[in-house]
């Protein structure tokens, strides 16, 4: 091998070992991803079986006629939009979800601050107590509320009567019934906001407040220029999550009013149940429930876009 093309024996064995190591690593990484995939597979199957399939099946159902024998395209949607009752349902769903979320966010924000300022062990006790509404199964707690609003045995009316005030038909008059459903939702959902905001508050570095204080910032300025900017992403994500859950709420309205009086508390889910299951028009019920999707998709788009933008700003 005097032509210079010869390769030292040691070099060959070294290159071979590298190649071998690379392919082993490749196989290993492949194996890791395979294992990862296999580990995720149950979850993927669950999501596919219980989320993706039902979602597409609902879309398919919403495009059938009442007896599910004929494809009718978007007729169910256009029919619903023309109905006065359904227009009322859209208005009420938005009113119910937006009002509830705004109040939950505000009360949760105030409570988180109050909680943040309670020192040591006491804070844990209060935190535990205030989480109770969120921990009790919603159907059960709503039943308790229903008993308090009940026409015959209302505990609230009993109290009002004791102080000389006439009974209030809590669930019998449209706007009062709307107020009651929203109030129960706020009562139930506020602890979630509180706990999320509290976690966010605890992650704000103390030095920022100290620096702001040195610059002469007061309490309100600290809140506006330190706390709020640092919490914006958590606030946005919490509001989005709560908006989705509140829009899809069924239990509270179903148990308290069943959509009454005079359809004045119906939301998408309760109306879909009444039309689809009780009245035997499953395609129309499916179309009704799908109206939530575009509203939530738009909300999710704007909220998540804001979160991404702010995250990039922070990273930069």
């Amino acid at each position: 091998m005097a032509d210079g093309s010869s390769v030292p024996v040691g070099a060959i064995s070294s290159a071979g070992a590298t190649t071998q190591r690379r392919s082993t690593l490749k196989r290993f990484s492949q194996r890791r991803s395979t294992i990862g995939f296999l580990l995720c597979l149950p979850l993927i199957l669950l999501v596919a079986g219980f989320v993706i399939y039902p979602a597409f099946y609902a879309i398919y159902l919403s495009m059938l006629n009442k007896h599910m024998t004929k494809f009718i395209g978007l007729s169910n949607f256009t029919f619903l939009l023309k109905r006065h009752t359904f227009q009322l349902v859209i208005f009420q769903s938005c009113l119910f979800a937006v009002t509830s979320v705004v109040f939950k966010a505000l009360i949760g924000f105030v409570m988180a601050h109050l909680m943040h300022n309670i020192p040591g062990k006491n804070q844990r006790i209060w935190r535990g107590l205030l989480l109770v509404p969120w921990v009790i199964p919603l159907a059960l707690s709503t039943l308790t509320w229903w008993w308090m609003f009940d026409p015959s045995y209302s505990a609230l009316n009993w109290l009002l009567n004791k102080i000389g005030i006439a009974s209030v038909p809590w669930l019998g008059v449209g706007w009062i019934a709307r107020f009651c459903t929203i109030a129960v939702n706020v009562w139930y959902g506020t602890p979630f906001f509180m706990i999320m905001y509290l976690a966010a508050l605890k992650s704000v570095p103390e030095q920022l407040y100290e620096a702001a204080a040195i610059d002469g910032a007061g309490a309100v300025q600290k809140l506006l220029f330190v706390t709020l900017p640092m919490m914006r992403n958590i606030i946005a994500i919490t509001v989005l999550f709560s908006l989705i859950v509140t829009f899809a709420d069924f239990d509270i309205v179903r148990i308290l009013t069943s959509g009454g009086p005079q359809d004045m508390t119906h939301v998408f889910a309760t109306y879909a149940f009444q039309v689809g299951i009780q009245s035997g028009d499953i395609p129309l019920g499916a179309a009704d429930s799908l109206f939530m999707f575009p509203i939530l998709a738009v909300a999710a788009f704007f909220v998540l876009r804001g979160v991404t933008r702010r995250s990039k700003e922070i990273a930069a």
Binding site: R83, D150, P151, T257, I277, D281, I282
Partner: protein, 450 residues
């Protein structure tokens, strides 16, 4: 275990075993459950004894016919029975026999096995069933899609406090509807006008009628009986809107007067509110089956002893008592339809119907007129005869009625479940005019007839 020479099978032994095995099929071994399996979803009866007697009857039939029967009792609380039916209809699997509430037979008519043969057998023996059963369980071609059952089937006429109606409204309900087969002059005077006067008198005395204006079935059935008494159909049998008729206007004008004497929260009543109103001693009269009386018997015995159940008042078009039947139907996907039909026919034999009716203190109303003479309605107390007039007897001159009929069932189910009629009354109570209410109902009904 290893085979040794001592336990090895010899040729002679093998021949013996072979001969015995060959002979086996020739011997009829009557093992348990030889005739297959059957599963039934019954309605979970309000009265616990209702389930016990049903299970007993099913077990007796299963033993006799060597069928392995599984009986499930599904509650109507939270409408779990309707959800189960909807799920099984979609999945095309589940129970063989299902107990269908009022409108569910028509909702799933294309998935049910016709039961003309069972009905032919039963009507041949017990006579025809009432008009509501025919309306709810027969398809357009006249085929029976389910068998009307007594279990859970109820009338919802008035249940009133004897003393309150006597003292405040001057109506002796026991004299009007005595516990004997008699059409009294007072019955003839028991009209919707008399009902209105009594409602006014009782409301003024602080004991209003516990009539709901919500959208659950008790409210719907009462409103349905009122509209029917005025001949006020919202949609006729051919599916034409008739809501703008004089008769509907008459019914609403009457309703406008009646709602003034109902409580302001009548619109938030559900099916338990009227029961509670009676049991708590706050209401003079409710429209309900004797379940409220049965609970009062346990929780408020004095109220129970002062309660009397009777027929609906009469209107210009007649006397219509709300009637809410259940049905037993067989899914087309059932693999054991023959056994299912046999079980249904067995359960609808008069002695079985009577045993079940006795067990639930007369709550269940049989669909056959010939079965409306059971002793239980005479014997139940206190007070003796309190539910004698609960079943519609021939001398009552009353007609069983389901709200929203005679509209085609696919429209009627929406009128019923959306609570269109009580909502019309609720709108009157909130101050809307008759014209506004008719305009609203017309718009709603147009949507139902699409």
């Amino acid at each position: 275990m290893r085979f040794t020479d001592s336990n090895r099978l010899t040729r002679r032994q093998a021949l013996k075993v072979g001969a015995a095995a060959t002979a086996l099929p020739l011997v009829h071994i009557r093992s348990g459950r030889a005739a297959g399996k059957l599963s039934v979803a019954f309605w979970d009866h309000w009265v616990p004894d209702g389930n016990v007697i049903m299970r007993k009857q099913v077990d007796a039939w299963a033993k006799q016919h060597q069928v392995d029967v599984r009986a499930d009792f599904i509650t109507s609380n939270g409408q779990k029975n309707i959800l189960t039916i909807a799920a099984e209809a979609q999945a095309q699997t589940g129970h063989d026999i299902e107990q269908f509430p009022t409108w569910e037979v028509h909702n799933h008519s294309d998935k049910l096995e016709p039961v003309d043969d069972v009905m032919q057998q039963l009507t041949g023996k017990y006579g025809p069933v009432n008009n509501v059963c025919e309306y709810l369980a027969k398809n357009k071609q006249g085929h029976w899609l389910a068998v009307p059952t007594s279990t859970g089937t109820q009338n919802k006429g008035p249940s009133a406090r004897i003393s309150v109606l006597k003292e405040k409204a001057g109506i002796d309900v026991q004299a009007m509807y005595p516990a004997r087969p008699e059409y009294t002059a007072e019955q003839d005077n028991w009209t919707w006008d008399a009902h209105l006067k009594a409602a006014e008198a009782c409301a003024k005395a602080g004991m209003p009628f516990g009539i709901g204006l919500g959208t659950t079935s008790d409210s719907v059935d009462t409103a349905g009986a009122l509209f029917a008494a005025f001949g006020a159909d919202l949609v006729d049998k051919d599916g034409n809107l008739t809501v703008k008729s004089d008769k509907v206007r008459q019914a609403l004008e009457y309703g406008q007067k009646l709602v003034k004497f109902l409580t302001q929260d009548a619109v938030s009543f559900d099916d338990a509110s009227n029961n509670r109103a009676l049991i708590s001693g706050k209401a003079a009269l409710i429209w309900n089956p004797p379940s409220a009386w049965a609970v009062a018997k346990r929780d408020a015995p004095k109220v129970a002893a002062d309660t009397w159940t009777f027929q609906a008042p009469k209107g210009p078009a007649g006397r219509f008592t709300p009637y809410l039947p259940f049905f037993w139907g067989i899914w087309q996907f059932s693999p054991n339809k023959t056994a299912a039909k046999e079980l249904i026919a067995y359960l609808m034999q008069a002695d079985n119907v009577q045993a079940r009716c006795d067990a639930v203190a007369g709550y269940d109303i049989p669909p056959f007129d010939s079965m409306l003479n059971f002793k239980v309605w005479e014997e139940v107390e206190p007070p003796k005869g309190t539910v004698y007039n609960y079943p519609i007897r021939p001398f009552h001159k009353a007609t069983p009625h389901i709200a929203a009929s005679p509209a085609p069932p696919d429209i009627a189910v929406q009128i019923y479940n959306r609570g269109t009629m009580p909502t019309m009354l609720a709108k009157l109570q909130s101050g809307q005019s008759v014209d506004q209410v008719i305009a609203w109902a017309s718009d709603e009904l147009e949507g139902f007839t699409r």
